[in-house]
């Protein structure tokens, strides 16, 4: 469950942020430590130098004979050579003191350092000062700075080990942060996956501390609330549909029960059964139409789109409806376009849509009038418009007429199930076409416009 692959951690933002801070902190750590190191060692060396100068001053002030005795005595008392004071004559030969030769030096009275190869084989760092005495002899005042060097080394070691520890702890921390972030995201993505799989009541877990992830989870949860509401609205549409189907169903059952109740003749029974079958077929047609619309709406049929010509489709539809219009003394005027009439689409669906529109136009127009079917095209678009001289659709109803099972007041008494325009609208949406109802003064014009495609 909570297993996190190590290779995934470097990709987490938390790990990267932690790493960046580790680098920043490391740099300041080294800067600070370097400063302390520089200050401390400088201080210790300057202390030694001060002591050397002071000793030179003291020795200079003494009588030469006394100085020699004192140095001899000092050498005797300092067998380890911690402070190797030595007096050389003008020829550089040792008069008194621990050192046998005068180390090379660049200038008098200027502190310098050399390694003293002692007789016992030890090699000690000495900081020293050479002073020319008034009597021609040379005085060397020195101090073993081995301890200071050792202290330096200790400091550097502390720096290195401390720095390494810092990096290790920092890296571990970064990994821990990365793992925890990864886990949290995993929990979130699992929740999202469950929701995607259909459990719309699911929500993303929050910790309540209002951190970044919490806030995003909050926003997503808000979105899910909206989605759930929409879904329940869709369910409401389904309930509407169920309600609309209940009326014919009730009529059907009532008719059958009436036939059962009354003692009827053979002929009356037959007619009751015929009525029932007609009603049931009507219901079946409504069902088929509904199924068809949802199939169109839910389909990925665009993959089967081919180039279809609006002229051909409209000609077929007009030809199909011509006799129907003729029966009512109407004429169906077809005006094909001259330019590019092809779009990408499904010819069956577009044919059905055009048929529905023509059917409506004929249904709502007065006898003896003209219905026009026009295909028009410009360089980008290609459209079909169907114009009828009927009562038209009031402005406020122009959106509603595309809703499933919607029947406007004026159409209550014409036959139909209120699904024709929903079907047209579903086809238009599937084809990314615009479908608009306009006022044709008098009457109504419906435009179905899509993107023209050159063959």
């Amino acid at each position: 469950m909570s297993y996190v692959r190590l290779s995934e951690i470097p990709r987490t933002i938390s790990f990267r942020t932690a790493l960046m801070f580790l680098a920043l902190f490391g740099c300041s750590f080294f800067a600070l430590f370097g400063y302390i190191y520089w200050q401390t060692t400088g201080y210790l060396i300057s202390e030694v130098d001060t002591a050397l100068h002071r000793e030179v001053d003291r020795q200079t002030a003494q009588e030469p004979a006394l100085r020699r005795t004192e140095i001899l005595k000092h050498t005797e008392q300092d067998p380890e050579g911690r402070l190797p004071y030595t007096l050389f004559d003008s020829a550089g030969t040792t008069i008194a003191g621990a050192l046998s030769t005068l180390p090379t030096f660049s200038a008098y009275d200027k502190p310098a350092e050399f390694f003293w190869d002692k007789a016992n084989g030890h090699d000690r760092p000495i900081r020293y000062l050479v002073h020319k005495l008034d009597d021609g002899s040379t005085l060397l005042i020195g101090q073993d700075i081995h301890d200071i060097r050792e202290f330096d080394e200790l400091l550097v070691n502390a720096l290195v080990s401390g720095g390494s520890l810092l990096i290790v702890v920092g890296l571990l921390g970064a990994i821990a942060l990365g793992v925890s972030a990864r886990r949290r995201l995993d929990v979130l993505s699992r929740s999202i996956k469950i929701i995607v799989e259909g459990d719309l009541s699911g929500r993303l877990p929050t910790r309540g501390n209002n951190d970044d992830i919490d806030r995003i989870a909050g926003v997503v949860n808000g979105m899910l609330d909206a989605l759930e509401r929409l879904m329940s609205e869709v369910k409401g549409v389904c309930d509407d549909i169920a309600h609309d189907l209940r009326t014919p169903l009730t009529r059907l059952i009532a008719g059958l029960e009436r036939a059962q109740r009354r003692s009827l003749t053979q002929k009356e029974y037959a007619s009751a059964i015929d009525t029932a079958i007609e009603d049931a077929k009507g219901l079946m047609q409504t069902f088929r139409a509904l199924l068809r619309i949802s199939e169109i709406e839910g389909s990925a049929r665009r993959s089967n789109f081919t180039l279809v010509g609006f002229n051909q489709i409209c000609a077929d539809a007009v030809e199909l409806f011509e006799p129907l219009a003729d029966e009512r003394g109407m004429s169906l005027v077809f005006k094909p376009c001259e330019g590019v009439d092809t779009v990408m689409g499904d010819s069956q669906l577009l044919f059905d849509a055009v048929c529905n529109l023509i059917d409506n136009a004929i249904k709502f127009s007065p006898d003896g009038s003209d219905v026009e079917v026009t295909v028009s095209a410009d360089s980008n678009n290609c459209g079909i418009s169907i114009r009828d001289p009927g009562p038209g659709i009031p402005e406020e109803e122009r959106e509603a007429v595309f809703r499933r099972l919607y029947r406007s007041e004026s159409s209550r008494h014409t036959p139909g199930n209120g699904l024709g325009l929903s079907m047209v609208s579903a086809v238009a949406r599937l084809h990314d076409m615009s479908l608009q109802v306009h006022d044709a003064r008098p009457g109504c014009r419906v435009d179905l416009i899509g993107k023209a495609q050159n063959a």
């Binding site: 139409a289 049929r301 199909l320 129907l324 069956q348």
Partner: protein
């Protein structure tokens, strides 16, 4: 007797189909999965097969149909499907189906289509071979696309001729509006009953003129039939 194999997994639907087909005078064998259906279709001789597109188990409707055709069996197959999408239909027919019917359907539609498939299977009649169809005193010249009834020459519009030709090829059988629409307009049908009725009305007016006994009859709740008037 016409022997029909029905391969359908839904027990209610298959029982209803069985009853409807038996009432229509067919002998029915029911099978509820693709494997058994394939075995039955190969081992026994059937006149027609009604096949559900969606079947449980490894062998679904299209798979079974492909296997059946691969084994050289040419029995006409009508595919039943809950999917009405055009490409589904095309896929079904491409896999070797002879007709395609979308659920929910009316049983009259099913039996009419099975009759048509059954007839297609029968050897062509003499009338078919000499490119003329004769029903009673109605004569259709398939090559010249001309129609006479007795001595009277009948002028038909192209669509009217196509309607009549289809009806004549299925003379004596009930032809549903859906079948006409698919055959004559080449689109699948979307419940435009009254539109077809008007076309048929015009055709009827032309072939069953004054003084002739009616040949083109409407079968209530089903469709039309063209039969010789005696």
């Amino acid at each position: 007797m016409t022997h029909v194999l029905v391969i359908e997994d839904d027990p209610v639907t298959s029982r209803e189909i069985e009853a409807a087909l038996q009432d229509h005078g067919f002998d029915v064998t029911l099978v509820n999965n693709g494997r058994e259906g394939l075995l039955a279709a190969i081992s026994d001789t059937f006149d027609i097969i009604v096949l559900d597109r969606m079947l449980p188990g490894a062998l679904d409707g299209l798979g079974m149909l492909t296997a059946l055709r691969a084994s050289g069996i040419t029995t006409p197959v009508l595919i039943l499907s809950a999917l009405s999408a055009l490409d589904e239909r095309v896929r079904g027919l491409r896999a070797g189906g002879d007709d395609y019917l979308t659920k929910p359907f009316e049983f009259i539609e099913l039996t009419a289509r099975l009759d048509a498939l059954n007839r297609r299977r029968a050897p062509p009649s003499a009338a078919n071979r000499d490119s003329r169809l004769r029903i009673g005193n109605l004569e259709i010249d398939l090559l010249r696309r001309s129609v006479r009834r007795g001595e009277r020459q009948i002028d038909l519009l192209p669509r009217e001729y196509a309607l009549l030709e289809y009806l004549a090829q299925h003379a004596g059988q009930v032809v549903t509006r859906t079948m006409l629409f698919e055959a004559v307009w080449n689109y699948s049908y979307d419940d435009r009953t009254n539109v077809i009725d008007v076309h048929i009305g015009r055709l009827r007016h032309k072939i069953d003129g004054e003084g002739d006994s009616p040949m083109l009859q409407t079968i209530r709740g089903a469709g039309y039939v063209l039969r010789s008037p005696e």
